[in-house]
């Protein structure tokens, strides 16, 4: 980070530099500047060394720099105004500056903070407090293979720093991104520990093929397990949304997420320890119908089937008042699930270093528990991250990074069965004598399934990444340097699933006996074990050239990268264990066991480069290009060229605007680029056959034979999906950050879309369709971010609001042509479905006689629009509706406020133009939401909210057809994060030899505002069977020694 400030220092003091240093030194500095900005090797002390050589000694000033919360800020640049005298704060925020003229003005600057000027006025101790900048012009933003100051940025890049990320109490990085990155859509659909990744989309959906963005961690693409990087180790996250992603070529069409981890800084070592303890509770649980209400519904079904109603009024009353223990009204959700579970996290980091060697070593541990009451489900993560930077000499520096991670997940052998929590309420979870009930059928009692009685599934994931990097300045050519890295990572997953038959009981009222039943579908224990490993190596080598003369600033590089991946797995199964005491393979039966295993390889190779040119930091242009080769494609279709260009004009630097003193910055940006998407399975150009356990068991003794299955029909022409993106943006900032705005409009056109042609190819062809380059789509939208920050007496605050809109459109898709115009996908949003247009509920006979209705309609059913006007409601009346469960509009509001030691952070995130389809049904064997059961149509009802309820899982009943009636508006606003913290005053803690002590309470997903209230609106399940999303209340401390 600090190297960027040096760049600024160099830029603004060009003349004096030329005097002070030799030309060669300048070359070195420039090279290193670029080098640092690329890799973050913080070996910039060389420049500092030099700055101490000159000038006349006058006085010494020292002090501490902190942020608003009182946290010491390491790496702040302190410069004597108008000179080259400067230094940086150490890890504890302290600095000492010699040779300062008595009347000097000190300039304190730091990335993302408002630069502050303080008159020395003869003082020897000056403490400074820096506050966060609205949209930090000097903020350094990580871009692909490099960094840029936001002020000279030409592309559309959203970024968030460690400060915001670490405030969200989550152990999963994907859950910390909602609301803080304009244009990034996240959706969390599960709260299961270890399995709670949010889906991430950048600028909506751009293709009918794969929509996953590329994730790059410290220069390494597609690292698995990035979701589990300890948020405290993350320095920043940037998102490349436009042509700036072209530098990642064939994998970047869905956008790129760049994660940069923290590195050491010179200074005495600081030890940073934080601990937090959280409690989690579901954001929302479905409220199911009570026994009495459900029994009335069952009676209705009985009567309709010509049977006597099975519950008398007396029985209904007993259900209602709970006076008879035989008339149970069970709430399966609250009886089976814990009110809250815990999550804890420990983080310890040691960072520091000398001018020659800097280090950052951190370790973390987290532990989360599962939600079922008897469950021993838990999820632990352990990680260690060590980043080392060394200066060998003034030309050569190296870096060594080692990261290790271990995720230890213990789940019940019987799984977490949330679908079965919709059991009918007459059945208890436990009988009065304490025996567990057998649930609906098959012994599926979710609480027992989730307990150790059903066995255990242990998933252990080990990851190791080693990376060495170097940077070499070519001393005899000004501006030339070479750098590169080699990274190797290994991931191993061990999955051991030990399943036991569990015991549950039915109760026979007639004989007052409990009937034992085995659950789990098996009679004896069984074990499935698998071991899979993958490794990937990456070589990157780069030549950089940098030139700065007068007002011209040029930096460029050309680089090559090559990666090679291999993965394999091995699995084995044994059953019919005669004893359940040892859960190892040897103890299983020798009969009916099986083993399996395979291996696959992949490779990539590419050449890429960039030229950045700036004139007086006023006219800026970046040209990126990548020539990418992937083993996913056949020879001749393998290489793709992906260029991108972006330009910016800082109008505020022009003379005609410089007189406007309230205008800090006004910048116009524009970009256009070509990016690729190759996220498909390999070898689709070949006819391949899979051999496996897919034959028949022929013979008297039924000996299993192997079966051979043909794969996809070969597509010899398969190649890249190509995206062309356009972006236009405006950045403006007034009154020194009091008000700032960033706005972008974009358009992406995706062509050669990789998708299977299943919409057009008849099933009788029997083709197992490969991906083909078919169709094109378009996606347009905008992002707007406004921020305001100010200081009012002791209170500093910042409010930022962002909104993003993206709407896709299928321009061309190979779809069936013999369909009515109103059902075609072309011209519509990606991912839409066809629905009947529900008009209303038929409530009376005259109404029944009057409307056009579908065959089988009864009074109480929905009726639909006769779209083709043929007086018949059939599938031709289905209409494609542009409503999907990917939000078109997402927004966030972030508020931070500081008062003395107190600070507050709040992040609201939400989505609208967002719908979820629910297939509602209830019959004698399955309960439904109270809202649905109570408000269903019953005979004579003139105002029921819902029609006659469908009874089947399939969509064959008139009211259960895919219709707009059940397509619900799922718009919501959530308080994603709230944090209140207090930093103990320095005066107090300095006595304890502590540099900083901060106490905080925070929370995640604390409340939700939505219309439907059936479940968490981020849900994507139309049947309420997901692991409930969790809210977290958290208490923690952060200690710095």
């Amino acid at each position: 980070m600090k190297k960027i400030n040096l760049l600024k220092l160099n830029n603004s003091n060009e003349a004096s530099h030329m005097k002070t240093f030799g030309k060669r030194k300048l070359i070195t500095i420039l090279c290193m500047v670029i080098f640092f900005s690329t890799f973050g090797l913080s070996a910039n002390l060389y420049g500092n060394d030099s700055s101490g050589e000159a000038e006349v000694q006058q006085s010494v000033i020292s002090g501490t720099v902190t942020d608003e919360s009182g946290n010491p800020l390491p790496g702040v640049t302190i410069l004597v105004k108008g000179t080259t005298i400067g230094t940086l704060t150490d890890q504890s925020g302290k600095f000492t500056l010699s040779n300062v003229p008595q009347d000097a003005t000190l300039v304190f600057s730091f990335v993302g903070m408002t630069t502050q000027e303080i008159q020395a006025g003869g003082r020897n101790v000056i403490n400074a407090i820096l506050r966060e900048e609205a949209i930090g012009l000097e903020e350094v933003v990580v871009i692909g293979y490099g960094t840029q100051r936001r002020v000279t940025l030409t592309g559309s890049v959203a970024s968030v720093t460690s400060r915001e990320i670490a405030k969200t109490p989550t152990t999963n990085v994907t859950n910390a991104l909602a609301g803080v990155l304009p244009g990034v859509i996240t959706k969390n659909t599960s709260g299961q520990p270890g399995n709670d990744d949010s889906m991430i989309l950048i600028r909506g959906i751009n293709t009918t093929g794969s929509t996953s963005p590329l994730v790059v961690v410290d220069g390494i693409q597609g690292v698995s397990g990035w979701e589990r990087i300890n948020p405290n180790d993350i320095e920043s996250i940037s998102v490349l949304k436009d042509a700036s992603a072209s530098i990642y070529g064939a994998r970047a069409a869905n956008g790129v997420i760049l994660i940069t981890t923290k590195r050491g800084a010179s200074g005495k070592p600081t030890i940073n320890y934080s601990f937090n303890q959280g409690i989690k509770t579901p954001t929302r649980l479905p409220v199911m119908a009570s026994s009495a209400d459900f029994a009335e519904y069952v009676n209705q079904l009985d009567v309709e089937a010509g049977n006597a109603p099975r519950y008398t009024d007396e029985m209904l009353q007993k259900f209602r008042d709970g006076s008879d223990p035989n008339y149970i009204n069970e709430n399966w959700y609250t009886r089976s699930l814990r009110k809250y579970t815990t999550v804890e996290q420990h983080n310890l980091a040691v960072r520091g270093g000398s001018e020659a060697i800097k280090y950052s070593v951190s370790g973390s541990f987290s532990n989360e528990d599962g939600i079922f009451k008897l469950s021993e489900e838990n999820y632990k993560t352990y990680s260690i991250r060590s980043n080392l930077d060394a200066m060998i000499n003034k030309y050569l520096s190296i870096g060594i990074d080692l990261n290790g991670g271990f995720e230890d997940s213990n789940r019940p052998g019987g799984g977490t069965n949330f679908g079965s929590l919709k059991q009918i309420p007459f059945v208890p979870v436990f009988w009065p004598n304490g025996l567990p009930s057998a649930g609906i059928e098959n012994g599926q009692n979710p609480i027992i399934q989730a307990s150790p009685a059903s066995g255990t599934r242990s998933i252990k994931e080990y990851r190791l990444l080693a990376k060495t990097s170097f940077n070499l300045i070519i001393p005899w050519v000004k501006g030339l340097s070479v750098d590169g890295y080699y990274a190797y990572n290994i991931g191993i997953t061990k999955d051991k699933n030990w399943q036991l038959p569990w015991e549950v009981y039915d109760y026979d009222k007639g004989t007052d006996t409990y009937i034992k039943k085995l659950g789990g579908g098996i009679l004896y224990p069984q074990l499935t074990q698998s071991y899979s490993d993958g490794s990937n190596s990456l070589i990157n080598l780069r030549v950089k050239y940098e030139l700065k003369t007068g007002n011209h600033n040029l930096s460029s590089f050309i680089a090559a990268e090559q990666s090679n991946g291999i993965s394999s797995n091995f699995n084995a199964f044994r059953k019919n264990y005669i004893s359940s005491t040892i859960d190892e393979l040897f103890a299983g039966s020798l009969v009916d066991q099986f083993t399996g295993g395979n291996r696959s390889e992949s490779g990539r190779q590419n050449l890429f480069g960039r030229i950045s040119y700036g004139y007086m930091e006023k006219y800026l242009v970046d040209i990126n290009a990548r020539y990418d080769g992937s083993s996913n494609f056949p020879k001749g279709k393998r290489w793709g060229f992906f260029p991108g260009i972006s330009v910016a004009w800082r109008m505020s630097q022009e003379d005609f605007l410089s007189s406007l003193s309230f205008l800090d910055n006004l910048k116009l940006r524009a970009s256009v680029g070509r990016i690729g998407n190759d996220a498909i399975s390999a070898f689709q150009n070949l006819t391949l056959y899979t051999l496996g356990n897919t034959g028949m068991s022929f013979g008297q003794n039924r000996i299993a034979t192997q079966g051979l299955v043909q794969g996809v029909t070969p597509n010899p022409n398969i190649t890249w999906e190509v995206a062309t993106t356009w972006n236009f943006g405006v950045d403006v900032s007034f009154w020194n950050g009091l008000l700032a705005m960033e706005a972008d409009v974009f358009k992406q056109k995706r062509s050669n879309i990789l998708a299977a042609r299943d919409l057009a190819v008849p099933a009788y062809t029997g083709l197992n369709l490969p991906n083909e380059n078919i169709g094109s789509t378009e996606n347009k939208g905008f992002e707007l971010q406004l921020s305001h920050s100010n200081t009012v007496s002791d209170i500093t605050y910042r409010v930022a609001a962002n909104v993003a809109f993206a709407r896709s459109k299928i321009l061309d898709i190979d779809e069936a042509q013999n369909v009515p115009e109103w059902q075609k996908a072309e011209g519509h949003v990606i991912g839409t479905s066809r629905y009947y247009k529900a008009i209303g509920i038929i409530r009376t006979q005259p109404e029944f006689d009057a409307v056009v209705k579908r065959t089988g309609t009864r009074i109480g059913d929905l009726y639909y629009e006769d779209v083709d006007n043929n007086s018949v409601i059939d599938d031709k009346d289905m209409v494609r509706i542009d409503k999907t469960n990917i939000p078109e509009v997402t927004f966030g509001t972030n508020l931070s406020m500081n008062y003395k030691g107190f600070s507050l952070w709040a992040n609201f995130a939400g989505a609208t133009r967002y719908w979820q389809y629910y297939h509602v049904n209830a019959r004698t064997a399955i309960n439904q939401l109270e809202d649905v059961i109570l408000n269903r149509y019953t005979t004579g009802s003139m105002d029921s909210k819902y029609p006659r309820l469908p009874t089947l899982e399939t969509q064959t009943e008139v009211s259960g057809l895919n219709s707009t009636f059940w397509l619900m508006d799922a718009s919501y606003v959530k308080l994603k994060t709230l944090e209140l913290s207090y930093a103990l005053p320095q005066t107090l803690i300095s006595k304890l030899k502590i540099q900083s002590l901060r106490i905080f309470v925070n929370g995640n997903s604390l409340f939700t505002i939505d219309k439907l209230k059936w479940n968490d609106p981020e849900n994507s399940s139309n049947t309420n069977s997901n692991y409930p999303q969790q809210k977290v209340y958290n208490l923690g401390i952060n200690l710095i020694f």
Binding site: I424, D508, F594, K635, S697, D875
Partner: protein
């Protein structure tokens, strides 16, 4: 001069350094192109490897076997157990999953359980595709002649069986015999029923010539000569039937008779000693079984029939998924050969005594001994009724459950714990009935009666012989087929090809309500109608609609009339 020289020197240096570095870069980049980008699959076999290796080709054939649909649950059509039975007057599927089909409301957009065309499992075109790929490659495969011939015979039979079934369900379908490639024009019209069936017969003739009559026991379950002949027998019978032979061309009946007789003359098959037990795992390859499809859920991850789980009554921890109608129960004769309605000795308040032994082998009724106790479908409180203690919502809605096919030794049935009973595509009893039917239509009533009576006289059944003539004999013949082959997937097609579906299927099916007086223990039996739906059969229902999605993709496909 000097300055210029220095500039030149510096420029040269720069160019030199840059070029060295770029060369280095390019070298790295190009030197390993081959290694890095030229991967070959290590988890799958290539086309070239497969069709040169007899073992791999055999594995391909083995896999094709498992794709041939049975009438059992397959994961596609949920809440089913014996799919074809549920689409007739045999079985009610709990919850009424197929009501809309039975009510005549099946549409091209929603075929439900009639979709054997586009579904991912139980799809005849998937079988056809595998066979087509096989035939494209087998010709030149260096495989031992006897193995090659056997595999050709097996695959030809499976493909013919698939087209036979497609034609029976939909009428003529596109007759595809070559694998498609991506660049093909996929739009092909339907072939006629006769074109499809002529192909079926000629393919079967070729297969019959290639296949062995028997296998060593290690290969039991493979298609034999007899199995191919059995497919041919059923195919020719369907072709000769009134639905497909409106002019009653007797040559067609003669062909059907000959095909059945050819199997009889093989002298390999005979009726098994137990009507009930022939469907059990232990008897997978009994003397009556002609094409027996094994299941081995212990080791195979294939679609799982969950036979016992789905058929057991709720009181035995089953799903009790399908329920025989009273309408079917009424068709089981008294042991004296009369139908209950025609037998004055029949007591409607004691309905389950003295019935055809096949009734007790096929149906679980109130009082039937099963797994150590009597089945209780009575109210109040019957263990297998909707007031039973176990999963009462899984209780029968007709008063009956299915007994046929069940391995009674299974306790705690589940998707893994099941009897692994085979599915009998063809058994000898059918062939005898096919022969009887063909002879009836050829005018040889003596032979017709003789063969029906072979069935009625089978060990353990011993029903009195049929003596009727003329139209009455045809009714007895049809009735015998209904009883002997019930739930085996015949009824749907039989009532259509005989063109009796309008009479048989246009009625309100019945159920049995049994109320027990808890004081006296006396049960009252009341036959009631199923109130929530009515069977409706109109002419369009002779054939199922062609799936809408297929017609959308191919405008040349003509829809069946009425849809």
């Amino acid at each position: 001069m000097n300055k210029q020289y220095n500039l030149l020197k510096r420029a040269a240096k720069r160019v030199l350094s840059l070029s060295i570095l770029l060369t280095l870069l390019l070298t790295i980049n190009t030197s390993c192109v081959k290694d890095v980008l030229d991967k070959s699959p290590t988890d799958r076999f290539s086309d070239a490897a497969v069709w040169l290796d007899g073992n791999l080709i055999e594995a391909f054939v083995n896999n094709t076997y498992r794709e041939v649909p049975t009438s059992r649950y397959n994961g596609n059509f949920t809440s089913t157990a014996l799919i074809w039975g549920e689409l007739t007057d045999e079985l009610y599927g709990r919850g009424g999953n197929h009501n809309y089909i039975n009510e005549g409301n099946v549409t091209a957009a929603q075929l439900g359980a009639l979709d054997y065309w586009t579904q991912s499992n139980w799809n005849y075109y998937r079988v056809v595709t595998k066979c087509n790929l096989f035939f494209k490659n087998i010709e030149n495969a260096p495989v031992e002649e006897s193995l090659k011939n056997r595999m050709i015979g097996e695959m030809k039979t499976m493909r013919a069986f698939s087209y036979f079934n497609l034609a029976a369900i939909y009428g003529g379908v596109p007759l595809i015999t070559q694998p498609f490639v991506l660049t093909d024009d996929f739009k092909v019209p339907r072939n006629t029923y006769d074109e499809c069936m002529n192909f079926v017969i000629s393919e079967l003739d070729e297969a019959i010539a290639l296949l062995p009559a028997t296998y060593p026991s290690s290969n039991y379950g493979r298609i034999t000569k007899g199995a191919a002949m059995a497919v041919k027998s059923r195919a020719l019978l369907y072709m000769a039937s009134p639905l497909n032979n409106p002019s009653n061309n007797t040559a067609k009946w003669q062909a059907a008779a000959d095909a059945a007789k050819a199997i009889i003359d093989l002298n390999i098959y005979e009726l098994f000693s137990s009507y009930k037990d022939q469907f059990l795992l232990a008897n997978s390859y009994n003397s009556e079984a002609i094409w027996s499809r094994p299941f081995n859920i212990s080791v195979s991850n294939e679609m799982n029939p969950q036979n016992e789980l789905r058929l057991y009554p709720n009181g035995y921890s089953g799903y009790g998924q399908v329920h025989p109608y009273q309408t079917l129960v009424d068709e089981y004769e008294m042991v004296n050969g009369f139908l209950p309605k025609d037998d004055p000795a029949y007591d409607p308040q004691n309905p389950y005594v003295n019935r055809d032994p096949r009734f007790y082998a096929s149906i679980l009724y109130d009082g039937a001994p099963f797994k150590g106790r009597a089945v209780e479908t009575f109210l109040p409180g019957g263990k297998d009724s909707r007031e039973g203690p176990i999963s009462s919502w899984n209780a029968t809605e007709t008063g009956y459950y299915v007994r046929k096919f069940i391995d009674e030794s299974i306790t705690n049935p589940s998707n893994l714990n099941q009897g692994n009973n085979p599915w009998l595509f063809f058994r000898y009893a059918e062939i005898l009935l096919n022969y009887a039917e063909a002879n009836y239509f050829l005018g040889d009533e003596v032979t017709c009666r003789q063969y029906i009576n072979m069935i009625r006289n089978r060990t353990g059944v011993n029903m009195p012989p049929v003596t009727e003539t003329g139209a009455a004999l045809l009714t007895r013949l049809q009735h015998e087929r209904q009883i002997e082959l019930c739930f085996e997937g015949h009824r749907y097609f039989d009532v259509r090809r005989w063109k009796i579906a309008p009479q048989v299927l246009n009625k309100i099916p019945k159920r049995m309500d049994i109320v027990k007086d808890l004081g006296t223990g006396i049960k009252t039996y009341t036959v009631a109608t199923m109130a929530n739906f009515t069977f409706v059969f109109t002419d369009k229902n002779y054939l199922a609609p062609i799936p809408k999605s297929e017609i959308e993709k191919n405008s040349l496909l003509e829809q069946n009339p009425g849809y």
